[in-house]
């Protein structure tokens, strides 16, 4: 499995945000995207998964076979917003996403236990604190399997202990042969982690 960006450029509202981003990742590798606010980290991640069109260059994803024909089908995208309905319980949310996304991996209850929310699956999502919400949406990455994780500030609102827990989850995913691109300041402490500094090459 190989995931590469070639001379990628992105724009927002008709204005170029970044240009000339290139990297290539294969199974078990991770890329940390760092840089100041407004450097285009979020835009890069949205371009990578195909939610935004690339203004130049392109994203290549190969070796996924029939199961993962393209990038959009092969990736989990965790954005700033959690993608959970506040009126539904945490478990209902996860069960829905598991059904809808397919490729069931862990059961919702197992996934919640992995992020330390095993006790509160029955609560409406709206009652959770910011950190708990973030952890619940991290559990979404676990209920359906996707080889590529695209994470935008995945640890915002998390405390130290949860951050460490999440780093561990990412480590497991990489060992399984997954690929991670994360915009985060969290040091992963793993081999094969590269860093892409943004905000310097534009203009």
């Amino acid at each position: 499995m190989r995931f590469a960006a070639e001379d990628l450029g992105g724009e927002r509202g008709g204005e170029p945000v970044f240009a000339g981003v290139s990297f290539a990742l294969s199974a078990g590798e991770a890329l940390l995207v760092t840089g100041p606010n407004g450097a285009g980290k979020s835009t890069l991640l949205r371009v990578l998964c195909g939610l935004l069109p690339a203004s130049r260059g392109g994203v290549r994803f190969s070796g996924g076979g029939d199961e993962w024909p393209d990038m959009a089908s092969a990736c989990h995208y965790l954005g700033h917003r959690n993608g959970m309905k506040t009126a539904l319980s945490v478990t209902e949310n996860l069960v829905f996403w598991q059904d809808f996304l397919g490729h069931a991996h862990l059961s919702p209850q197992e996934a919640l236990e992995m992020v330390g929310l095993g006790e509160i699956g029955h609560l409406p999502f709206g009652y959770l604190s910011t950190g708990q919400r973030r952890r619940a949406s991290i559990a979404r990455l676990l209920v359906s399997y996707r080889p590529v994780w695209l994470l935008d500030e995945p640890t915002s609102g998390l405390d130290r202990a949860s951050e460490a827990q999440f780093a561990e989850l990412m480590g497991v995913h990489l060992e399984d042969g997954g690929i991670i691109v994360a915009a985060t300041h969290l040091p992963l402490g793993l081999d094969g982690v590269r860093e892409l500094r943004m905000g310097e090459r534009v203009e």
Binding site: G9, G13, G20
Partner: protein, 262 residues
Amino acid sequence: MGSGMTDATPQASTLSGRLTALANPTRFLALADRLVPWLGATALVVVAGGLYLAFAAPEDYQQGITVRIMYIHVPFAWLAMFCYSLMAAAALGTLVWKHPLADVALKSAAPIGAAFTALALLTGSIWGKPMWGTWWVWDARLTSVFVLFLMYLGIIALTRAMDDPGRSARAAAILTLVGFINIPIIKFSVDWWNTLHQPASVFRLDGPTIHTSLLWPLLICALGFTLLFLTLHLMAMRAEIWRRRVIAMRRLSARAAERAAR
């Protein structure tokens, strides 16, 4: 997509891949600059000639002087439909070929089309007062044109509600096409709903039923107003391109100021 218009930006990095896209609006501006005066002058001459002929033409033995309003009403109604078809074509250009001029054409045509549609409604209503004895009747054709007018207003409202030109262009294009698919349905349903109006009388398979002495001035007027429409459309497109360049340059200077402050 919007940055297709930003060729005033001194950005070397994005320039290379875009030369073709950038050349078009610039070439278009040069072309428009040269065309507009000639086209405008021709339009005025043809309209003036058409109107002169219209007043020289014999009066209708039933309708009297009021028939003369036909010479502007019919061209306006024709342009109301012509403009929407043009916008639908431009919408296809935006959606399929992503041509930057297409969305400029679509956006700048909408207000002109709405104006001509309003004029068609207005002249129709003035014509209708002596004919029907009332300013407005809910007959099939008036009603269809009125619905068309509402659709123009919807498109204008949508393009105005979004500030990002690329996104508003795509949204307007989708709405225009959905509306275009709907026009025959609306026309059919309104006809079905009320079939009181006299049947179409200008172009029919068995030849025109109005007398040729009335038809010629009408055709010349239609041609003149179509030329006038094209002139206005070119001018509006030119203004829209300049407007986008101004926006792009303002953005650029804001960012330059930000860099300087750092």
